[in-house]
């Protein structure tokens, strides 16, 4: 087995009495495309949020690139009502805010596109470059970091060119067509310079042609940016086409994992999806 970039250990997320993610163990290999699938409400986005720091897991641990980026155990009220299937509590509490995790090299997109709507395409990407800024507030204000600023601008332009949005660079982002908005959101995530890219349903709302383009696009950026990709998706065609490894989630629990062929033939998966999604 090659190097593991991200792993989750016994991740359990409980809201009140509801266990949304139960004992999730995922290992994402470097330079591979891994997918997380499952019917609606299976807890996929919640898992994403736990990994990116949006939520703090109730119990479990997330390791990224060799460092523990999140660890928690049931505390206070949760101690009494904890209902996850993995009972042994972890011992430490490690909390990282999403921005810090992003700066460590993990970038994400959102299920319901969250662009900086009133800003231009160029600004959207340029802002993502801000997270690695070296100059302080004052040197940046007095443009003492001209070289850095110039590099940020140049990189942004280069990135936009690569993703084919350079012609739209001065458009207000919300005025772009849907497909391009998706692409811009991915470009914006790339601008933070990630090792791992998390895509939350990137093909949602796309027609088959657009989806095809997207899968080519994902493969392309994976190669040119040296990325590891982790995605949630409903479009099985897309998932089966590009994924190296797939995890299936249902009612918060992992019901299967394996390569696309294995998954396609897994009876538990078929059962979970029956009537839910075309397979």
């Amino acid at each position: 087995m090659s190097e593991i970039l991200l792993s989750t250990e016994h991740i359990t997320m409980q809201f009140g009495g509801v266990v949304a993610v139960d004992d999730l163990n995922i290992q994402i290999e470097k330079d591979k495309i891994t997918a997380l699938i499952g019917p609606n409400g299976a807890g996929k986005t919640t898992a994403f949020n736990v990994i990116t720091g949006g939520y703090q897991a109730t119990n479990g641990m997330v390791t990224f690139d060799g460092t523990v980026i999140g660890e928690n155990y049931p505390r206070a009220k949760m101690k009494k009502i904890y209902n996850g299937s993995y009972k042994t509590p972890y011992e430490k509490q490690v909390v990282n805010t999403p921005d810090k995790i992003t700066r460590m090299g993990m970038a994400r997109t959102f299920q319901n596109i969250r662009l900086f709507k009133e800003l231009t395409v160029f600004e959207n990407v340029l802002i993502a470059k801000h997270c690695h800024i070296k100059a302080g507030l004052f040197s940046s204000t007095f443009t003492l970091n001209r070289a850095e600023e110039q590099k940020m601008q140049d990189d942004t332009a280069a990135l936009l060119e690569k993703v084919g949005l350079l012609e739209n660079k001065d458009d207000i982002s919300s005025s772009l067509p849907y497909g391009k908005q998706r692409r811009l959101e991915i470009a914006r995530a790339l601008a933070t310079g990630p090792k791992l890219l998390l895509l939350d349903e990137p093909a949602a709302g796309m027609n088959p042609k657009e989806t095809e383009e997207l899968s080519a696009f994902i493969k392309e950026i994976k190669e040119s940016f040296n990325l590891t990709v982790f995605l949630i998706e409903h479009h099985m065609n897309l998932v089966m086409e590009i994924s190296d490894h797939i995890y299936v989630l249902d009612y918060g629990k992992t019901i299967a994992e394996g390569n696309p062929t294995e998954i396609q033939n897994n009876p538990a998966v078929i059962r979970a999806y029956l009537g839910d999604e075309e397979l």
């Binding site: 810090k100 662009l115 900086f116 340029l126 802002i127 507030l137 940046s140 600023e149 933070t192």
Partner: protein
């Protein structure tokens, strides 16, 4: 390229005209008292309006604490600058704290150069104190969202006001009695810039700083927070750090503006910096356009001029040809004003400038368009 050159030329010419105008005004200030005071108040308010806009318009933090931070600046400046000889007169009721007096006497006895720079130091110190206060308070309140933040900051400014007016601090702030005999604006560059022009220079420097900040990478991060906090955070922007920066900087400049206001008014009291003051600033920002620096500046001058000058006749009984026009009586001006605000809020939601900034291109385009339209009609 040509266009940029032309725009630069236009800007330089406008600046020169402005400077000449200010010097002319300085020479004829006695005949133009109203103009001078409207412009001075306008420029001071434009600074606080821009700093409020930095928070509300660019960072998306709806804060209503400006008056509180202004009062910190105003009080610091005032306490430091009241001449030693007037101290007994000002603090006639409770006396001044001996340590402050000793410090002021020390300054008064120090070399000329120190004394010339002292007013600027006082302004700066006021700003820094406010910035410090904002940094402390920000840790707590910046966790709050939209309207909660608004009401919490409003509350903060009321707390600051209560502290300044409380009898416990009589010997520092002169509690109930307020401070007066505050010296006028200092001259700059050994008198080359007369005291009338000083506030314009200071405000210009401050606003230029804020504009440059907004244009910098940090400014872009502020805008990202305004647009979408969660996405901004996912892009690696530390929400708290950036909100705190914006809050601290905005408070710093609000306090500078407060200090200038103290110099302009020559007399301050805690009551001056009440909720109404914040509302007035908010009104300027809204009319100018939330998210537009030039809008705020323009609106600060327009609102001040309209309120203090042009619309004053609404308050006077008006008789046209023997007919006593009804409605015209004391208070009518402010009613008109509130209606104007509501019109902007409900109908012209973008205010004067929306989120746009002033640009020569736009102005010229507007004029040429009109002309060509007319030409077409012929």
């Amino acid at each position: 390229m040509m266009k940029i050159r032309r725009n630069q030329m236009l800007t330089i010419i406008t600046l020169i005209v402005l400077v000449i105008f200010l010097y002319w005004l300085n020479a004829h200030r006695h005949q133009n008292g109203m103009l001078v005071s409207v412009l001075t108040k306008g420029v001071i308010l434009s600074l606080v309006a821009v700093s409020m806009n930095l928070l509300n318009g660019f960072t998306g933090l709806f804060s209503l604490g400006q008056a509180g931070f202004m009062s910190i600046g105003a009080y610091t400046t005032a306490i430091l600058l009241i001449p030693v000889k007037n101290l007994d007169g000002v603090y006639y009721m409770n006396g001044i704290s001996p340590s402050i007096r000793a410090f002021k006497e020390l300054v008064a006895a120090s070399p000329q150069a120190v004394q010339i720079l002292f007013p600027f130091f006082a302004l700066l110190l006021g700003g820094l104190l406010a910035a410090f206060a904002a940094a402390l308070v920000g840790i707590a309140v910046l966790r709050l969202k939209s309207d909660y933040l608004a009401i919490a900051t409003l509350g903060l400014s009321e707390i600051v006001r209560a502290i300044f007016s409380s009898p416990q601090f009589d010997q520092i702030t002169n509690g109930s009695y307020g401070l007066n005999k505050i010296p006028n604006f200092p001259v700059m560059l050994w008198g080359a810039i007369p005291s009338l022009i000083t506030p314009f220079i200071i405000v210009a420097i401050c606003i230029v700083f804020m504009v440059m900040l907004i244009k910098s990478s940090y400014g872009r991060a502020f805008k990202a927070i305004r647009e979408d906090e969660i996405a901004a955070q996912a892009m690696g922007i530390n929400l708290f750090k950036h909100k705190e920066m914006s809050f601290v900087i905005s408070s710093f400049f609000s306090a500078i503006s407060g200090g200038l206001l103290a110099m302009y008014m020559r007399s301050i009291e805690a009551k001056t910096f009440s909720i109404t003051m914040t509302y007035d600033i908010l009104l300027i920002v809204v009319i100018g356009g939330i998210g537009s620096v030039t809008g705020s500046i323009l609106s600060a001058f327009l609102v001040t001029a309209a309120k203090e000058w042009w619309l004053r006749f609404f308050d006077q009984p008006l008789v046209i040809g023997g007919w006593h026009v009804p409605l015209f009586k004391t208070g009518f001006r402010m009613v008109i004003f509130s209606l104007l605000l509501m019109t902007v809020v409900l109908i012209y939601r973008k205010g004067l400038m929306g989120t746009n900034e002033f640009s020569w291109d736009r102005l010229i385009a507007r004029f040429t368009k009109r002309r060509s339209a007319k030409g077409g009609a012929k």
